[in-house]
Subunit: 345 residues, 2 copies
Amino acid sequence: MGKGKQTNQPSLTDLAKLLGLSVSGVSRALNNDPRISQATKKRVQALAQQLNYQPNHLAAGLRRGKSKLLGVIVPFIDGRFFAVVIKGIELAASRAGFSVIICQSNEDVAHERQNIETLLSAQVEGILVSISRTTHDFAHFEKVQQRGIPLVFFDRILVGTRVNAVVLDDYAGGFLATQHLIEQGCQRIGHFAGPQQLGIYAHRRQGYLDALRKHGLPLAEEFIVYCDPIALDTGKQAMQKLLQLPERPDAIFSASDAAAVGALQLLEEQQLRVPQDVALVGFSNEMFTSLTKPLITSVDQCCEQMGQAAVRLFLQLGQEPKSQAPQHVVLQPELCIRASSLRNT
Amino acid sequence: MGKGKQTNQPSLTDLAKLLGLSVSGVSRALNNDPRISQATKKRVQALAQQLNYQPNHLAAGLRRGKSKLLGVIVPFIDGRFFAVVIKGIELAASRAGFSVIICQSNEDVAHERQNIETLLSAQVEGILVSISRTTHDFAHFEKVQQRGIPLVFFDRILVGTRVNAVVLDDYAGGFLATQHLIEQGCQRIGHFAGPQQLGIYAHRRQGYLDALRKHGLPLAEEFIVYCDPIALDTGKQAMQKLLQLPERPDAIFSASDAAAVGALQLLEEQQLRVPQDVALVGFSNEMFTSLTKPLITSVDQCCEQMGQAAVRLFLQLGQEPKSQAPQHVVLQPELCIRASSLRNT
DNA sequence: CTGAAAGCGCTAACAA
DNA sequence: TTGTTAGCGCTTTCAG
């Protein structure tokens, strides 16, 4: 009863009344405007503290057209890679005063379109996105660009589009891994490849091929097995297939860690030693590569750096004159060498 | 040149002018208000579509005092548990029309306090939080309650406080796991316990003890090893310790999966068979429990359900008369039985 | 150094 | 069925 407001969140107006000042004065004091006397600043800040005043970002955002919100769209959030990238994003964003709104597309374009709507409605100042597996057209992203909202793709990008992006140099990763195996004395190196329509897997394969070529090793198509990079079993099957060749490989570069683990299991079953008989390198540096026996050498994707780089690019886009050429940031992967590829020769 | 606005995002006012209607009319048409003619609704929606109109949630939120934003604070986001919980949160929240703002406390109270400020400023309608390891007082949460903003704790809660919470029944998990081992014929069951000041680990241990008691097995304090639940090595050390007992255990219930893997590695080194010589059960159902050899039986924490339950509780709190007794939702864990504990007798 | 006033885009009485 | 009006909380000219 009475005219009390239901939320007891004090507003600028409330402060102003209590202090016998104008709202604008209070606003300026709180924003540390240079042309306000120290005396009143103190007064204002004291009361604000006491009443537990919280600025209303919605209102401020509405007024000045800046929400201080940053949108992120990922295919899914569980799974190490995206989780760590998001960690990096959140870190860098909050340092710059932005809050992060997370959306999952669940690998579904329709959902992704919906996410874009949501984020635009929320008036985000930028969108960082890693596209879903079912995304093949650019239409829903064009809306974002038309609004003049900075758009940064990371990791998974749409091929054949000129966009701002942060990606890993998957080619270098494949090259590095393969070269390492060669340096360990391996001669017949097989490859577990992922779906080639996805750039990342195509690049890893190309790096593998070029490393072989550079070192004068033969390129044999039957040494490449295409398999589902997620499932463990396909690694087993792929290994099985390669073991049946007249001359079996003495090393495998797998485009995924899961497949590498599968291979490891099969090799163990077949009484083959890793790395002496077959050396193994995976990709992604998943946590479980440090839990197998032997530990699996793997290409690290610098996930957290990727998140931070994406935010940096976004911030930079916001400051630049306007729509200049799309930027590409390419991160260099690192090879984490472990027992599965170390031949102590 | 010209009076053009810099963002070409059309507003309700723009639509109204173009249509020769009033803003409120357009607003109602878009919100599908029953007292607007179908004819004009069509007209309005058509133009909105064509101009790619996006409602401005900031403005709407400001006006009606509802931001449709939900805040989440977690200690960190990488690591399966929180990632999956957040997946559940995002799913349930977006279904209810809420966007989710994620913050990380990095296990630091100071940071957590900062997160609260951020979320309050963003005018979230509720906060879901899993407290940091360094959080011991409730002060910064009281501010939230005073504002009348629903607050739901999940997984990690402050002991001795009456708050809304969603937790896992860790006791039941410990009981279940131990009972399963007993049913497999194990008689001397050891336990790797986590730090007992954390409720979750204390409860798991108690479940273990009560299961032993119920089945008339002896309770021996030397069968319990206290170790760091994160590190792999401590599992090895703990196992080592138990193997040196005059009568070595024939099973281990580990309060963490990582320690269980450590134990597995040591047992293999010692040429002991799992589960024939020593059976093994872990806790958390981490992904890598399906990658070891043998696969490790583990207690699943229903992470995604926990996220959804937290959102449900939040929604429910928003509707209820007001400040009633704090609600507690207790989720029942499930035992995922795998080879490490299955004695084929 | 401070105040008055306008308005960001939208919703919700109250009128018509 | 539609229009008018006021105002959410804040920033920001423009005047003092």
